[in-house]
């Protein structure tokens, strides 16, 4: 059982180490929502770390492929659904001040009740959405 989870455990540990490096190195929380918002604040010197972080994040995929690994990516081809989902995630994470990384990993790691409640809420909403889509029998 645990053997089957080795990729998940290694990946999760790397995510935890990356977040730790950013915190201990420059005192920043590795939240993707904050990184995204920083893109629009490029004039502010104190936001520049986000560009470097984003560059590393985006380069991980070509590096991973270059090392000879494959990364499956199975995504819906329904463009309307993709657009609606992107808008909801962009809007929701902005007003909720975080997503899976900022609230889920760093927030819970900091023992923030606010982040724990946000994480439970978006998990439940995600689970309910998938359940409703199943019930709709492919309409959604």
């Amino acid at each position: 059982m645990i053997n089957e989870l080795i990729p998940e455990l290694i990946g999760g540990t790397l995510i935890g180490l990356a977040a730790s490096l950013l915190w201990l190195g420059i005192g920043r929380i590795s939240g993707m929502t904050g990184v995204l918002s920083s893109l629009f604040l490029w004039r502010e010197q104190q936001r520049h770390w986000a560009f470097w972080f984003l560059a590393g994040l985006v380069l991980a995929y070509p590096l991973y492929k270059l090392l000879g690994y494959s990364a499956p990516l199975q995504l819906t081809s329904n463009n309307t659904l993709l657009m609606a989902a992107g808008l909801l995630v962009g809007f929701g994470t902005y007003i909720g001040n975080g997503c899976t990384s900022g609230h889920g990993v760093c927030g819970i790691g900091r023992l923030s009740l606010r982040s724990a409640i946000a994480t439970v809420t978006f998990m439940v909403a995600g689970i309910a959405t998938v359940a409703v889509m199943n019930l709709s029998g492919g309409v959604l």
């Binding site: 993709l82 962009g90 902005y94 959405t129 998938v130």
Partner: protein, 143 residues
């Protein structure tokens, strides 16, 4: 080396390691994420192991950092100051969760998949940026 040179390198390395973690764990794959959220049918709980390892690792280093006055390559720790649990937080989390469930992408994995050059990922990321800006103009930053 000075902090001026080191801090961008720290951010770059952190982003790269974060991205590799998402790829190795399979968290970048929308189908795997949707299977994780599919609790009542074809549930694949394996992604619990990603959160279950990332959170304690960060928690240990975060509390180790609490003993320091400043980070290694900067002058201050920027810990989030918001603690309020209000309608704004919950509305945002519900909207995010719905979008996440619809296609199986959250911001980190979407950005990691950008250079896979999948048209669907690009559409999602453009909508993600648009949603972020619409919220900024309509609602504004949290105080």
């Amino acid at each position: 080396m000075s902090a001026r040179i080191l801090s961008p390198l720290v951010a770059l390395a952190s982003g790269l390691i974060f991205g590799l973690g998402l790829l190795i764990s399979g968290m970048n794959d929308p189908a795997k994420v949707r299977a994780f959220l599919d609790v009542f049918a074809a549930w694949d709980p394996s992604l619990i192991a990603v959160m279950g390892s990332a959170i304690p690792v960060f928690a240990v280093f975060f509390y180790f950092g609490k003993r320091r006055k400043a980070p290694l390559c900067a002058t201050t720790f920027h810990e989030p100051q918001l603690t309020r649990i209000d309608r704004r937080l919950l509305t945002g989390a519900v909207m995010f969760g719905i979008g996440w469930g619809l296609v199986g992408l959250c911001p980190g994995p979407a950005l990691v998949n950008l250079l896979a050059f999948e048209p669907g990922v690009l559409i999602f990321v453009l909508a993600l940026l648009a949603g972020n800006r619409i919220a900024h103009w309509v609602v504004g930053p949290a105080k």
